[in-house]
């Protein structure tokens, strides 16, 4: 499943769950409880609050471990062992990419910087979804590692607003199949 679709589904489920909780509470809101029922409800709410906290804590610990153990941000000051290194320079409003093609099945290191203002280096796959990105910053070089397995024409699109030429600031990047096609 594409990561963005998975995230979209999780968000939709989460927002729907919140909405459902509100609808349930609202449906009960107009029916006032007597004093005894209020006391019971207050005790139950206190217990439930503890459970909500415990579940969220479990989610926090488990989710943090799952998403941070393989940090997608590479260490910046060591040799990354990529198959190919691609130098990327952003400027108002162009990309200089060298080389501009790599063979499929490569682990590619993009070294991204800017000569003027902040730009955003976003690599769109042939199907039009973002595969990875990093910022292109003046005075800094950000190193991004991407596995490029699928041959085709990829698009580099600026994703950090950089002035009137921001939208057209894009370039093509080729991932060639074995045999060079």
């Amino acid at each position: 499943m594409i990561l963005q679709d998975m995230i979209g589904s999780i968000a939709l489920a989460g927002v729907s769950l919140v909405g459902l909780i509100f609808l349930v509470v609202i449906s009960q809101a107009g029916k006032p409880a007597d004093e005894a029922a209020r006391t019971r409800a207050a005790r139950a709410a206190g217990r439930l609050q503890g459970w909500v906290f415990a579940v969220l804590l479990l989610g926090f610990v488990g989710g943090s471990w799952a998403t941070l153990r393989n940090l997608p941000i590479p260490v910046q000051d060591v040799e990354l062992g990529a198959d190919h290194v691609v130098e990327v320079v952003g400027g108002m409003w162009y990309w200089m990419i060298s080389p501009d093609s790599v063979p499929a099945g490569s682990l590619v290191e993009f070294r991204v910087t800017s000569v003027d203002v902040n730009h955003g280096f976003a690599l769109y796959g042939p199907e039009g979804r973002i595969l990875a990105q990093t910022q292109a910053m003046p005075k800094y070089t950000n190193r991004l590692l991407v596995d490029l397995d699928t041959p085709g024409t990829y698009t580099v699109q600026c994703l950090e607003y950089c002035g009137i030429g921001h939208a057209p600031m894009k370039a093509s990047f080729q991932v060639t199949a074995a045999g060079g096609n």
Partner: protein
């Protein structure tokens, strides 16, 4: 504890204070509507229904961003002032000064955008404001930033006055936050939640404002003396410290209206417990540490900062889910609440805040940010808790005040009842247009969209039209209502919650 009396006597304002409050609220309403109209124009242009030239699109975007964030701050500052003044001494001059500096700042921003063609966006990311390739002048960028300085100075003045009042009343911030009850002791139920929230927000937002001020002064120095070069990563950190904190402070200031007003409409006290105090302490700490989640794609940052940004983003969900929204739901549950406009909007605001946090927390995850950063996912989540959360809090507060001016009966006309579903439905369609765009990798902040991106643009535009339509009704209704003189109640202050229920 917050009053259960619907319109207590201590909320009747002296004439000068009432006029000042009206200036805040009417200005905010007009600005909200104007900024929404700009937003609708931009979404319609992305949808291909309106041909905004790119330079105007980015000028409108700069105005919309600065205008919306500033207006949200203006109106929620009024909420904080209105309730905090009951518990500590606040000086009207500070409240007036904040308004005057806001208006001066606003005109600087308008002048910079409309006359100077400034289009460097509200985030003023160095060095773009002074490096436009001829689209706008260095002077226009500097005037825009001077406008920010004016608005920030006003806010700081207001916070300083609030801090002085809180310290004079409670001795120090720690006691105002109720930290003496964190581990034991009987919590004083008369200790106002408004004081806890105000103390928390003024600590955190003052730090953010100071960070922003440092960034602005350095950027202005660079604008005047280009030979003074700045470190772009350092400035980016400072800007996002301010840029995260300032809009988020509006939620916390607006939330005071929920603490104060919701119990009056449900007739049930909003109990102050240890979880509430812990939640506010956690909020003050996490909100100061969370800003690196805006720089997750800046790999030159130390990696521990990015990890801290993710962890703080996730921790940010706890106070809302476990305490504030949860407490509001408990307060509503089987309360016998009588539904009217303030009550409906207060409940909607809790939903908007709580639901909006879901996509926000996902975006604060580094692996997700890798594919969602600077896509429309981002405006999708922040509009969620700003539009349905903060704006609903502000509207609830204003509808409540209109009731005070209209026989001390909360508004609930047929027009009110009809406009709210339009606002909610339009809001959800508008928001899911953005979130859907993020899912399909549509970039944010882009004047020209390719054909493949226009489906979600069109969905979002339809939602935006409904929101603007509902907001137009709210603005007319509220401006007319707020400008009426305050009504005398039959029992002169005996407008108990029961009267509204």
């Amino acid at each position: 504890m917050a009053s259960l009396v619907l319109y207590p006597d201590d909320e009747r304002l002296p004439r000068a204070a009432g006029i000042t409050l009206n200036f805040y609220l009417v200005t905010a309403l007009v600005l909200f509507l104007a900024m929404m109209a700009l937003g609708l124009g931009m979404r319609s242009s992305q949808a291909g229904w309106l041909g905004l030239p790119p330079d105007w699109f980015y000028r409108f975007l700069s105005l919309h961003g600065a205008g919306m964030v500033g207006t949200a701050s203006l109106v929620t500052t009024a909420i904080m002032w209105f309730f905090l003044r009951k518990y500590v001494q606040l000086h009207l001059w500070a409240f007036v000064a904040n308004y005057v500096l806001f208006i001066i700042g606003l005109w600087c921003i308008v002048l910079s955008v409309m006359a100077g063609s400034y289009a460097g966006l509200w985030t003023i990311l160095y060095p773009l404001p002074v490096h436009s390739q001829g689209m706008w002048s260095r002077e226009a960028g500097a005037i825009f930033m001077l406008g920010y300085l004016g608005i920030g100075m006003g806010q700081l003045l207001f916070y300083l006055d609030a801090a002085a009042g809180i310290i004079a009343r409670y001795g120090n911030f720690s006691r105002a936050l109720g930290l003496q009850w964190l581990f034991g002791g009987e919590i004083d139920q008369a200790h106002p939640k408004a004081v806890v929230a105000s103390t928390g927000v003024l600590i955190a937002n003052t730090l953010g404002l100071l960070a922003g001020t440092v960034a602005l002064v350095m950027s202005l120095a660079n604008a005047v003396y280009p030979s003074i070069e700045l470190d772009p990563l350092l400035i980016k950190n400072l800007i996002y410290w301010f840029g995260h904190m300032y809009p988020n402070a509006t939620i916390y200031m607006g939330c005071i209206a929920v603490y104060e007003l919701l119990p009056r409409y449900t007739g049930k006290p909003f109990v102050m417990g240890r979880p509430f105090l812990w939640a506010w302490l956690a909020t003050v700490l996490y909100v100061v540490l969370v800003f690196p989640h805006h720089l997750l794609m800046d790999f030159a940052q130390p990696r521990w900062l990015s990890v801290m940004g993710q962890l703080a983003s996730w921790v940010g969900g706890f106070p809302v889910f476990v305490v504030t929204a949860y407490g509001a739901l408990v307060n509503i549950h089987r309360s016998g609440i009588r539904w009217n406009m303030p009550a409906r909007l207060l409940v909607l605001s809790m939903f908007g805040w709580m639901a909006g946090i879901v996509p926000a927390i996902l975006d604060g995850t580094i692996a997700v940010n890798m594919v969602m950063h600077n896509t429309q996912w981002v405006p999708g989540h922040f509009h969620f808790y700003m539009l349905l959360g903060v704006l609903s809090m502000a509207l609830a507060f204003m509808f409540h005040l209109v009731g005070q001016r209209h026989g001390q009966v909360p508004p609930d006309s047929g027009g009110d009842r009809g406009s709210l579903p339009v606002y909610l439905l339009g809001g959800l369609v508008f928001l899911f247009g953005f979130l859907g765009g993020g899912r399909t990798s549509v970039p944010r902040r882009m004047a020209q969209h390719i054909d493949a991106w226009t489906l979600t643009d069109r969905i979002g535009s339809i939602g935006a039209m409904l929101v603007v339509l509902a907001m137009l009704y709210f603005v007319v209704r509220l401006v007319i209502g707020l400008l009426r003189p305050v009504a005398q109640a039959a029992g002169d202050g005996d407008g108990l919650a029961d009267a509204a229920r």
